[in-house]
Symmetry: C2
Subunit: 334 residues, 2 copies
């Protein structure tokens, strides 16, 4: 049985062209018949785009009409209410109706979030659905949540993030008994603000969480834990800071090469290594950010997602569906 | 008139040896008679250390006896009460009595903070003294505060950080009309949690702050502002994450060089560029973190401070004294 992924063809800065290119790549780079895609959006524009690709008429692609588009700058609250025929609504509707196993979008993040809650609903026992982000570590990579959805958290929310993150790490990342760390300003149990102090106790007492204590900012890269929990304010700042690293580094390294008067050959060599290194920091390699805690599989990508990012997002979505993460979270949180 | 800096000879993981080496370097690398140092701590051990250096008997060094040492792992609250003859107390006492212009320590951060408040006191109008940290930017560097002292902040505290940070940027960093940004999860004014939403309004209305709006994590490296304000929880996580970058990067780059099977010559070349680049990220180059808002000049260094870090800390302290930053903050905050 192929996994069906509904893709927001209208989502992202360069939609639909980039989304369609990414979709074709995802289908090309997976075993025949493993994934099918519903391209959701302006049917005419989608078909025009598909026609420009050699393999645009390949099997495994279905076009689903959606009359409206929620633009990147629109207020999510208003758009979700007024544009009920948007590609986001129609795509999520396909998941709700069982026509697709997952929905992925590089569109308006707030709108995808709000519409997911509205159309799919929260899983029983989940107070706050949460978005995961990925950080490279010297070991492999770790996940961090919440990464921006919940800017004001209570200790119980952090405990829920720990539980949901553990499910993801166990199923999709295949980590046995994944460790969970609490992001804090110091290692000792009494450190931090009131929220994390209480969260520490809850995590320490939770039998289904393999809690390894407080982590500091410096512990992220050294793989302090498989799952790092924090409120969405801290998580979002850290995520965006991390994502800006590769660009900044390119600049700093370029300046240093000039200072050391490196010749062209040397510069090429350094840049080649740097480009390879940068891949670990490149959000496009991770695809989208999974939204955990809603009754369905949803991945949210950057507005600036490339075809490669869309490809990875579709592949990740398919894997989450195969592992049936929502069912595993349902079982854990109930 | 030389600037006199009281140095905690017993502070840091490798005290007093490293502290004394750094002190000698600071004196050697500044114009004759510009800086004098009070080395505060166990007089016998300090003199032993000095005797091991060729220029250990140079002028400009005064040894001040302090019978007690607050260890790195001690509880600040208890130690500050019970060890009133510690090198931290005696050093800060020298500032209080006007015998020194500044105190620098790579010792127990919490104890230095608490003793500074206790001995020097807050400047009038300052609710929360705050520690600055430095981030490299594509332009030069920016300062961020609070970086860990205040893990629970009210909007008014963020406004005060903006004011104090502006004074520091104007005087020590010589930035004309320094810009101030509010660290947040999005650019739009309505973004973030309740504290930053209110802080946005206060900053926007403050006539003595050159507020440039919200900044995201990705805006730090691109020099979104000269001064970035945030609560100490976020600031501390970001600071420590940033400090871990160079080590992590060395690892990632090493792995990539292996993967690309780079020869030894190529590896040397890459590592040389990386080492030069890493300097911008190296906290040792910035020396210590200035504590703003107390009635005196205090800089706090890492426990792992090298001689180079101690040297830079003493130089920075002298510059803060020359610019009379506490007086400028007093004038601003009153």
């Amino acid at each position: 049985m192929p996994v069906r992924v509904a893709v927001d063809a209208m989502g992202g800065d360069k939609a639909p062209a980039v989304v369609i290119e990414g979709t074709l790549r995802a289908l090309e780079n997976c075993p025949e018949g493993e994934i099918e895609v519903l391209l959701v959006g302006d049917e005419e524009r989608i078909r025009e785009c598909l026609a420009q690709h050699e393999k645009g008429d390949r099997s495994g692609i279905h076009v689903v009409q959606a009359e409206e588009v929620i633009e990147m700058g629109e207020s999510p609250a208003t758009a979700v209410k007024t544009k009920q025929r948007s590609s986001i609504h129609v795509g999520l509707g396909a998941v709700k109706q069982g026509l697709a196993g997952a929905f992925v979008s590089a569109g308006n993040t707030g709108a995808v979030m709000a519409a997911s809650l509205f159309i799919l609903g929260r899983l029983p026992g989940v107070a706050r659905p949460s978005v995961i982000s990925f950080f490279p570590t010297i070991q492999s990579h770790c996940i961090l949540l919440d990464s921006g959805t919940n800017v004001d958290c209570k200790p119980e929310h952090l405990l829920q993030f720990a539980r949901m993150g553990s499910v993801y790490a166990r199923t999709v990342l295949r980590r046995d008994n994944p460790t969970v760390g609490l992001l804090n300003v110091g290692e000792e149990p009494g450190k931090g603000n009131d929220v994390v102090k209480t969260a520490y106790k809850l995590l320490d007492e939770a039998e289904d969480v393999n809690f390894c204590g407080n982590l500091e900012g410096r512990d992220v890269f050294r793989h302090g834990a498989d799952v790092i929990v924090c409120d969405g304010f801290v998580g979002n700042v850290l995520l965006k800071f991390g994502e800006s690293l590769v660009t900044a580094l390119g600049h700093f390294v370029g300046r240093e090469m000039q200072r050391q008067e490196l010749d062209a050959e040397g510069q090429n060599l350094v840049m080649k290594i740097l480009a390879g290194t940068g891949k670990a920091f490149d959000y496009q390699e991770y695809g989208g950010a999974p939204l955990l805690g809603v009754d369905g599989t949803v991945l949210i990508g950057h507005g600036s997602s490339s075809a490669r990012a869309v490809e990875r997002m579709i592949q990740s979505a398919a894997e989450i569906v195969r592992q049936d993460v929502p069912a595993a979270i349902r079982a854990t949180m109930a």
